[in-house]
Symmetry: C2
Amino acid sequence: MSRDITFLDNLNVDNKKLISRLISKVEENNSEHDEILSAIHKNTGNAYRIGITGPPGAGKSSITNQLVKLIVSKNKSVGIIAVDPTSPFSGGALLGDRVRMSEVGGMPGVYIRSMATRGSLGGLSHKTIDAADVLDAAGFDFVIFETVGVGQSELDIAQAADTTFVVLVPESGDAIQAMKAGLMEIADFFVMNKCDRPGFESAISALRTILMFKDHDENSWLPEIIKAVATENKGITEIFENIEKHRNYLDKHDLLIKNRKARSLNRIKDIVKDRINFELSDFYNQEKFLNAINEVVTGSLSPYQLAEQILKVYKDKK
Amino acid sequence: MSRDITFLDNLNVDNKKLISRLISKVEENNSEHDEILSAIHKNTGNAYRIGITGPPGAGKSSITNQLVKLIVSKNKSVGIIAVDPTSPFSGGALLGDRVRMSEVGGMPGVYIRSMATRGSLGGLSHKTIDAADVLDAAGFDFVIFETVGVGQSELDIAQAADTTFVVLVPESGDAIQAMKAGLMEIADFFVMNKCDRPGFESAISALRTILMFKDHDENSWLPEIIKAVATENKGITEIFENIEKHRNYLDKHDLLIKNRKARSLNRIKDIVKDRINFELSDFYNQEKFLNAINEVVTGSLSPYQLAEQILKVYKDKK
């Protein structure tokens, strides 16, 4: 591919074959990885990136499904990156769901890609952002990340998206407690799905209580809570409107670019760290190093002394 | 302190003042950090490290409290590192709990240290492991890490402990679901606390179902589920016996040292990455770099190209 970057001329939202091929190459982390991402980079920055997260069973994929249909009905294109192992997009969940998904995936201007949750080198966050860059360069108006909100992944998604919303259900009480700190940091708004079930009012008021503790002033964005019943297509318009509202808020306060800069900074720091780890991986497999680890465990060498030695090895190696 | 490492002669489980001072110095990440940890390292490796985690409200601190009393009754010493923001050990929870904790903390051979959950440079994992090294070098028989099982922290704790157990309550259904993958990786056994409440049998059988999916052969350690009512001191002896049982299992299969080696390897890799980030922090604040980030966001420079430039800067800097 180094001989011709002409693939760029053919990269568009309807060339799903090329998109898939590029994402696969990027995922493999092979020698073409940097080349592809550097080549497409100048065409990125136009897609609006949406993060959807929440606990398993909250109906994230039903919401995504309906949201995609709404976006398509507005003549906009959308690429979806599903990193949720329980999502029908990425192979989990019920057959019925999966059939609905493949319907959506077959629509023109819609591309779905599922990605493994356990990344190798570089981890999930890198790969999803790299794949989003490919979709962005292809010209999609929107890129949606769908991921299950457990542990690190909800932070990863906020690291990838311009607007992130969290899908909950009335039964999510425990999950809300557990995710509290994380949720507060990442959610631009909440969707209370399955609002045809008992207990949704008290779930909403519990969530509202948590949100009250968020620091804010008159210029702050205040996360709303949107009621939805995804299976009946209720609340989807409101979700889309809230995404647009948040986008306008970011624009008005010059935060879109500012946030993207902050995310770029983190991304670059991550790339640097992973690259160094990768360059050191040979060294980590050497007998010399394994012996040094023995010395650490038996107490004759401290981990900080060994780390210093490794840094010296790294700097001396050009 | 560089002039005299004589503090080592005074470091013992009853010199709580010196222990506190050393942990504080280590926490601050100042110039003495490496020196202290390297000096004490040869005296580490004797403490058995226990990790206690679980969702908020499961009663981890009640369990810890009772376990500490049991350990003391066996004439053994124990240092506790509480990294759970909801724990009375680290300042959260009810006044009654806190009073009980300070009782335990005042016993001879018991030292309690709470640590902030949001670490600065190096993160939580480093600091807790560094602090545990101080306790280990002071001669404590056991070091207990208590942390809330949300997200990354449960993996951090498994990265720090020889034996880790997860405390759950009958109501933890959602938390079990959410933590499923993480739990399977880290729990050497489970404690179902508050077994005087309805629903504990079905919670235990649900957990057992999940455990069935764990790969194992005849030599595998199979995580047990221990019933407890911490407030009535029920199940605590069984917990301690299970810790000893797991310890014997590790010994018998030469896994104690093997696991410690694997954890050392990860620790050293983390130290190396953080050290590089720290050494680059000046550079990350330079105008030149901030301009480069602008170029990345506007599309004229790719993040991978910038990462390459940074690595070059790093290697050229000695």
